[in-house]
């Protein structure tokens, strides 16, 4: 499996995107009262993708097509590169010694990507969506950094496989619940998903994605779900014990846990209303940030008490 993992990664990511799309569609159908249309949800993703592939592309006046394309591509590339440090089983396609920082660096590419996609079409509403995402990013980024650094602190390493090894007995989600909760919130916000989808909200006519059509829209929506899959997959080595678990092999546990996190994120999207930027900013800075700092402090004290400071 080792030599195959780099090639397996894109396949798994696309499968994850398909899982998200199908589950999302099924939940939307249920909410709309179509009953149990599992087959409908299964086929709709393919039909929608095919429709977008053949659809004619809409253009706007004096659009900056280059920047829009750069944004759409950056979103996809960043999501794939971010997922590269996730151990699929015990080995990651790229098990960097600074895996946590690498994931963080790739995931902020979304800031530039969404802003560029919002700027590109030369349209006020889509630009509003782009700016909303920057405001959202400034709010979630610090709690997010504290959350992932807390996991690295608990393991004494920035390498994903070391963090997984440190969870052989107890998952980090168990003794770092605040960091895990902050991570899940910020992972949702990062993919502007669920309660955090104001950047592509209906109140701004689709926001950053409002003027996208055809292939552009397919790639952007796909890239956004890719980012969600990557963020959910990283939650597994950071907080949910990676491949650790009884009976099943490691790769199966990683898969099961990732799908469980994804299912939770998709379900939450249909349960909670959209959060307004001004409300979210204050909650993030006044509640979440001190909470994650206290969590990091508590974990640091535990690590020191165990005598784990220096190496």
């Amino acid at each position: 499996m080792t030599s195959a993992t780099p090639f397996l990664l894109p396949v798994l990511l696309v499968a994850g995107v398909w899982f998200v799309a199908v589950l999302d569609g099924a939940l939307a159908d249920r909410a709309a009262g179509y009953g149990s249309g599992a087959r409908r949800a299964l086929s709709r993703t393919g039909r929608e993708a095919a429709r977008l592939l053949v659809a004619q592309r809409r253009t706007t006046l004096a659009a900056d097509g280059l920047l829009r394309w750069a944004g759409v591509l950056a979103l996809i590339v960043a999501a794939v590169l971010a997922a590269g440090v996730v151990p699929l089983g015990w080995e990651a396609p790229a098990d960097l010694s600074v895996g946590v920082v690498w994931f963080n660096a790739m995931e902020v590419v979304a800031w530039a990507a969404v802003w560029l996609v919002g700027w590109g079409p030369n349209s006020a509403l889509s630009l509003t969506g782009g700016y909303r995402f920057v405001a959202q990013g400034l709010s979630y980024e610090l709690p997010h950094m504290f959350a992932i650094i807390t996991a690295a602190l608990g393991a004494g390493s920035l390498r994903m496989s070391d963090i997984v090894d440190a969870q052989a007995d107890v998952w980090f989600a168990v003794w770092m619940p605040a960091a895990f909760a902050a991570y899940l919130l910020s992972a949702t916000a990062m993919a502007f998903w669920g309660p955090f989808d104001a950047p592509v909200g209906r109140d701004v006519a689709g926001g950053a994605a409002g003027e996208l059509s055809g292939v552009d829209r397919l790639l952007f929506e796909g890239g956004r779900r890719l980012l969600l899959v990557a963020a959910a997959a990283v939650a597994v080595p950071l907080f949910l014990g990676g491949g650790h678990g009884p009976w099943l092999p490691a790769w199966a546990w990683v898969l099961v846990k990732t799908l469980a996190v994804l299912a939770l994120l998709v379900w939450v999207r249909h349960r909670l209303p959209v959060l307004r930027m001004d409300r979210w900013s204050e909650v993030s800075w006044i509640v979440l940030l001190p909470l994650t700092m206290l969590q990091a402090l508590a974990v640091a004290l535990v690590v020191l008490a165990r005598g784990g400071g220096g190496q």
Binding site: W111, S281, E282, I286
Partner: protein, 186 residues
């Protein structure tokens, strides 16, 4: 291979740096500059300084996206949507840049570079952290507090609304008078 990559990245960094002054849109200028920074970050990654490289990527993207907001806000053309020029005081700038470039290049060749003593450490990130935090802890702490107080002072000086505006002259208002509501319900 490494040399070819290094050269390609160096050329990309210079070319996108030049593009900043060639393009006629503030957004393109900002992101051309970002590409230049990212090429430099990739060069740092090439030297196996993974942590520094990843942090440069992280910082530069956040920084340039925030910069994009401000650069577009403060440009002379409304909203930055109209064509603009990045050139001001071209002759003076050319002289200053030429002198600076010559000086720095001369420095490269004239400086007495130290030879490597010992071998490359197993984990450069750990060595960097130790170097920064062990012997120079006092410097880092002073630096951190100074930076933090500068930020606080700047915000205090710049803000148009202080606590008296929010809570009344006697600071006894039960509910602060804020233009935008927050989520904590204060």
């Amino acid at each position: 291979m490494t040399l070819a990559l290094f050269t390609a990245l160096a050329l990309l960094a210079i070319a996108s740096g030049v593009l900043v002054f060639v393009v006629d849109s503030m957004a393109r200028a900002t992101f051309a500059l970002l590409v230049s920074f990212l090429a430099v970050a990739a060069m740092v990654l090439l030297t196996d300084l993974l942590y520094l490289g990843a942090v440069i990527i992280l910082m530069m993207i956040i920084e340039m996206v925030v910069m994009a907001v401000f650069m577009i806000m403060y440009m002379m053309n409304p909203a930055g949507l109209m064509p603009m020029s990045m050139f001001h005081n071209t002759r003076g700038a050319a002289v200053i840049c030429g002198l600076l470039f010559a000086g720095l290049s001369a420095g490269i060749f004239l400086a007495d570079w130290p030879e490597r003593r010992g071998t490359r450490p197993e984990d450069p990130t750990l060595e960097l952290g130790t170097a920064l935090m062990e012997g120079h802890m006092l410097t880092m702490m002073t630096l951190g507090v100074t930076l933090f107080s500068t930020i606080v002072a700047t915000v205090v000086l710049a803000t148009g609304r202080g606590r008296y505006d929010r809570l009344g002259d006697r600071l006894d208002a039960g509910h602060p008078d804020d233009p935008a509501g927050g989520g904590v319900g204060r």
